[in-house]
Each structure stands twice: as C-alpha cells, then as structure tokens.
Amino acid sequence: MASLLPFVPVPALIGFLVLSLMPVALSRTVVIALGVGAAVLPAILFAPVAVSCLEGGCVAGAAVPILSIDVGVFVAQIAMSLDPLSMVTGGTVALVAALVLIYSGAYMASEPLPDLRRYFALMNLFLAGMLAVVFAADVILLFLGWETIGLCSFMLIAFYTKLPKAVSAGRKALITTRVADAFLLAGLMMLFLSAGTTRLDGMLAAVPAMDPWRLAPIAGLIALGALGKSAQFPFHTWLPSAMAGPTPVSALLHSATMVAAGVILLARLAPLFAAAPEISAMVAMLGILTAAAGALIALIQTDVKKLLAFSTMSQIGFMVLALGLGAPAVALAHFAIHAAFKSLLFLSAGVMSHASGGSTAIEALRGARYRQPWAFWSFAIGAASLAGLPVITAGWYSKEAVLAAVWSSGPCGVPLWLLAATAAMLTGAYAFRVVFVAGSQSADLAAPPWGGAAVMVPLGVLTFVAVVGGLSVGALIGFTGGAPEHIPLLPTLLGAAAPILGVVLARQLVRHPRELERVAHRLRHVRAFRIEILYYYYFVRRFRTIATVLGNADGTEAAAQAAALRRESIDAPGLAADDPLGRAFGGEAAQPDFIARATDGQTPVVRLVSGDPVGRILIVVARVFVGSFVARFSPDQIDRGWMGFAGSFGHAWEQARRLQTGRVRDHSLWIALGCAALLLYAWGTSWR
C-alpha cells in the first residue's frame, strides 16, 4: 500500500489542472464537486498508506524513490518519504484540508462562478504543494512544494482582487516569505554542495562529517527560511494581514498547514540542528519570543480573525520552541492538535461572523451563542483546546508536553518555562475573551442560522479531535520517535493552572467598562484592602495602560513617523506608492452598526486598536528603505548619465558649427593655422 504514496497529491493536482486549464464552462455544482472531491481524495488515498505504515511499514528515514533526473551537472533524485513524521504531518494536512474544503463548498458557494473556480483551483494546487512539502524526501520536491504554497498563499490572500487591501496583504505575504525563502534556498544549496545529493536523508547523513563553521551558517539560513514561512519573529508581520483572504483560506493555509511548513521542515532536519546547538538556541529564543509576544498582542485584538492569526503565531512559537529545544516529536504532536483546533476555531468563527453580517469584529459576534449555539459551542471547545484547559482538551496534552520539554531542557529551562507558562496563561485570556463576548447577550438576535451538512460535518469532526485528540498525544510523540518528558508535579500543576488563570483574566477583561469605573470609584472613596481592588489596581489597570500604549499605535512615535513617511512617499515609486507591505491592520469592512457599537462607550479597552508594534517598526524600516533607497533607482540614473553624455555631443555640435562661419577669411584662417601647425611640428622634428 505504500506504493500509493506518490499518488496522494495527484488528485489535487488534477483538480487544479482541470479547474484552471479546461477551456470548458462548468456549472457551479460541478465546480464545487470537483474542487471538494479533488481535495477529499488525497485523504482517502492516504488512509491505506497510513494503515500500512501503522502496521509497521515505515521507519524513520524510509523513502519511496520516484524518479531520478540526470541533469548532466548532477543527479536529482526525487523521492517521497514514508516515515512517521510524514505520516503524522501528511495525515493532518490531508484530513484538515479535506474538512476545510468540504466546509468551503458551502461557505464559498455564493461567490461568482469564475471566482469560485479560481478558488477551488488554487486550493487544490495548494493542497498538492503542501502534500509535496510534507512528503518530500528531497530538496527539489520540497522547494517546489514550498514555493507553490507560497504562491497559492499570495493568490488566495488576494482572492478578493478588487480590494486593494487584500492584494497588498498578498504581496506583503509573498515578499516576506520570499525573503525567508531566499535564506532557505541559500541554506539548501550550501547543504547540497556539501553533501552532493539532493536527498534529505543523504544530506543528513553527511551532517556529522561537516565542518562546524560550514554547518552553522547552513543551519542558520535554513532556520531563517523556516521561521519566515512560519511567521515567526521577525518575519511575522505578514500573517495578520493575510487574514484579508476568505475564512477557509485562513483556516487551512494560515493556521493549520502552510504556516506550519516551517515546523515540519525544522522537524525533518532535526539532526542538522542538533549538530548546530547555537542555531537551535536561536530558534528556541525566537520561538518563545513569538509565543509570548503573539499571545500578548492577540489579547488586544478587536478582530477575531486577527486574534486567531496572532494566536497561530504564538502557538507555532510553542512548536518552534520545542524544536529549538530538541524535541521535534513534541512539536509535531502540538502541530497536529493545533491544526485541528485552530481550523475548528476559524471555521466556527466563520460561521458566526457569517451570521453577524459578515463582520469579523469581536464585538460583532456578541450574541452568537443565541444565534448559532452549535457554532458557538464548537468555537468554545476550540478555544478551550487552544487555551489548553486541563485534562478535558487535547490542547492541554500537547501544550503540557511542550512545557515539559521546556522545563527539562537544561539550565535555562525554568526561566523559559516561566515565560512559556505566562504565554499559556495569556492564551487562555485571549481565547476566552472572544468566547465571553460571543456568549453574552446581544440586542439583535434576528440573524438566521446558517449551516448544513457541509458545515456541520467538518465542525463535528474537528470538535471531536479537539477534545479527544489529546489521548493520542502520547502515542504521537512516541510514534514520531520522541519520548514524553516526566516532570515534577509542581510545574505540571502550575502549567495546568495557567490557562485557568487566563480564563479568569479574560473574564475580567470583557467585563463591562462601567464595572471598571465602579471599581475605580470605589478605589478612590473606600479605603478597603480588598483583594479585588488590589487586583484591579495593580493588574487590570496596568495591563490596560500597557495594552493601550502597545495597541494604540496611532499615538506612538513610530506611527507618527510611519504616517509622515507615508505622506512623503506617495510619489516614491515601487513599494511605497502602492504599499505592498500593507498599510493598516483595520478590521474587515464591518457594517456601520457594528462599528458604532464596537466603539461606542467601550472606551478604552475596546478601542485598543489592534496593532503590532514590533511588526510596525519593521514595516517602518522597510518603508524607510523603500523611500530612501529603492526610490533612488526609479529614474534610471545610469540611463540619464548616458543621455547626458550623448546630449553633450549635441552641444558640441552647436559649438563646432559656429566655427564654420561661412566667411572666406575665417576659412582661410584655418588653412593658415593648419599650415602653421604642420610647419611648427616639422620644425620641431628637425631639432637635433
């Protein structure tokens, strides 16, 4: 059955080719059927492969050679790997993709037909590319898939082509990931040149023999490439703006699969990183940084998709942290679980926002519990899993494994653990913030419910996984070659308490502001040392201040600079004028009443403008670069130089023709001059 492996991505590819190239008009039903079918088939094809694998057919490093191309210069061996790693990741990708596409069959059904066709074509191409990445056992297939998913990501983010914001967001994603890809390509090339083969196993086999001075740059470059794709600090800015795409796209590409490609790559090349400890440390640092910062920023988002985007960043930060600490199996387990609950969150959020007039503002979801109870509850379960509520959710198991790996990772383990646990607490806070808002009463409950089997089935399956999947975490870790860490009880308990604390914090955050006013009032007038008051005074208020400063980018210096630059560089060519790096993080175009509601009387917590200070600084830097550097190149100075040089001959002509006065005397003057010059020269030569 393992021989079926090469055919797993084929249906998706065929789906893409048929949908994109067939010069035949297809009806809406056919398009949906084709698109969904082509995405479901890989999952079905994968099942027997997985079964044969579970039966012991696959060991680490096993690969199915597909073809070997003698390109004259070298022999490119294309192969697909059939090892536990690819089984776990491949299974996750195939399953989540199938479910998301089933869902989108309903979600996107009202799009115009050509757009629908384009959507499914691209989604299928993406799936094929993603499966190529997942199953690749050689760098060629890997990079092919890697870039294909990058392109699909761009096209899908910019799916609503009429929205300039969407196109800009797509360009930003593509450019950012391309920068990272350049690093990756450089690393892979250097690795290839050192190892002399394109097969990953061959490359990894060559690692021990390699010079550490050569190994470190290779590992560093590859790590940067992977982190860029995974939207880790400092490449993270593209991910939040990528939410301009349709919700299923966000669910599949920008949460569950594509952004995790970096994690998969790092896991696959784990021996390389094991040999380069300083790079691993860097990776771990970036991972924890992203995890913490992402969680913090997610806390102050006003848009549910943005919130989920930052949450994705943060969760992948956890995975990267685990990878950096040398626990790829744990990272992969978290990847699988995260894929399930994050797509669940996106899909159910999509359902909820669908019923809220299409707005994805958190405030717009108020009352979703009563409008669409099943969607709300599945969102809540997903959020619980994301927060990692102990014991009952899958997220807890995988996150606990990560925390355990952190705890036991040597001398730095404890501080790192503390940071990670804080991040976990914030995770709980932001996840439940939405739940609490959506769960509260709202004035308008009239929105009709929306659903059907195409929506219910994916949600159901994903909910099931998000709850029960935790039981498989240990097995997963073991299957992919890791061993669960056993750590003391205290950190375990503290780790379990963190999400709960987070939920409490969320509860406080979404309390009505008037309540906060009341507390403040009491604080001023009642001299009572109540825990609650202290809590508010020291924690909530400070947090609000910090969040305001962080979030309200409009008031900061950086924002002022950015605005000024933006004004100046209107004419700056290239990047600046059309703003490829994305300008604003404003929410989806919400309907007026929601906006009004969102801003009315909700000061200042709700008015925390969603922002990303670090990302903003990066963008400002990029903009400065564009404004000052790239703009210089727009008028081709070399060309101008040449033209000036050529023009000087025109002037020379103007001057020279004045000598041709037309008067006999002057003409004769030149003859005399010539004679005199020749004579003087001859005289000079006759000197002895």
Binding site: L669, A672, A676, L679, L680, A682, W683, S686
Partner: protein
C-alpha cells in the same frame, strides 16, 4: 655679387609685397604688386634664370596685372570700399599677422643643414626649352588643358545675364 643682388631684390620684393597687401586702394595695391614682380624679375636675373625673368615680366606683369587693372578700371574703386578696407585692416590684423609669423618662423629659425656649393654654370634658356619640349611635353600639354579649363570656366562664369534661365 649677383647673389647679393638677388637677395637684395628679393628683400625688396618682400617689402613691396607687404605694402601691396596693406593698401586700402586697389590701384595702389596693384602698383606695388607690379613693383614686387619687377623686383622678383631682377632677382631671377641675378640667379641666372634670365628666361624666367623675361617670362615673369611678360606674362605676370604684362598680362596678369593688366587684367587686374582692366577690371579695376571697369569697376571703379568706391570710397566706401577704401574706408571699409582700412577699417577691416585696422581691426583684424593681429591674428593674421601672428599666423604669418608662425608660418615664417620655422624658416627663419630653422637649422638647415644644406652645405656645399652648387655648380657655377647657370641654366640657360636652351636647356629650359629642351626640357619643356622633351621630357616635359606632357606637362606642357596638360598646362594647356589647365588653361582650357580656366577658359571654359571664365566663359561660363562671365556669360551675360540675359540668357533665359527658366529652361532646365
């Protein structure tokens, strides 16, 4: 002795030439040209080239200058042209003078290594005649054609204006 005469006559010719080209009046200039030619003829005599000297007087002074004079007579010198020439000479002499000096300088300051003395016997007119009608016959024929070219040219340029010009 005769050489001294030749040099004296040559210098005289030089001075008359210098005067000739600086006269604002055409008639005066022509007269100095004649003086120049006569001085040159004297120099030729002194150099032993009697045939050339006679020819010079006959053709140059006799025919060519007469031609000039004839033209000057038909087109009388206007007072404006005299003042114009005077003004132009006064304004434009430095650069031409400089160039003339530059042309002359290599000759005056050159180190010519021509040594020795030539054969004493001067060239007789017979020798010249023998040359012209012997080896140089072709040259003489060509000289006649040169004059023919001049003749046709003058005939064309000097034609009367009354010829109708419309025909192509």
């Amino acid at each position: 002795m005769s050489l001294l005469l030749a040099i004296y006559a040559g210098a005289f010719a030089l001075v008359s030439g210098a005067i000739a080209v600086t006269r604002p009046n055409a008639v005066h200039a022509l007269l100095y040209l004649v003086v120049l030619l006569l001085a040159l003829a004297v120099a030729f005599f002194a150099l032993g080239a009697a045939y050339a000297a006679v020819l010079l007087i006959m053709i140059y002074a006799g025919a060519i200058v007469v031609l000039f004079v004839f033209v000057v007579m038909t087109m009388p010198v206007s007072p404006e042209s005299v003042t114009r020439e005077r003004a132009s000479l006064r304004g434009a002499w430095p650069l031409p003078l400089l160039l003339s000096v530059l042309i002359l300088a290599p000759f005056v300051f050159g180190e010519f290594g021509v040594a020795g003395t030539s054969a004493a016997a001067p060239v007789s007119a017979q020798e010249v005649g023998r040359l012209l009608f012997g080896p140089w016959a072709l040259a003489i024929e060509l000289a006649s054609l040169l004059l023919l070219a001049g003749l046709i040219g003058v005939r064309h340029i000097g034609r009367s204006d009354r010829t109708p010009r419309s025909r192509p």
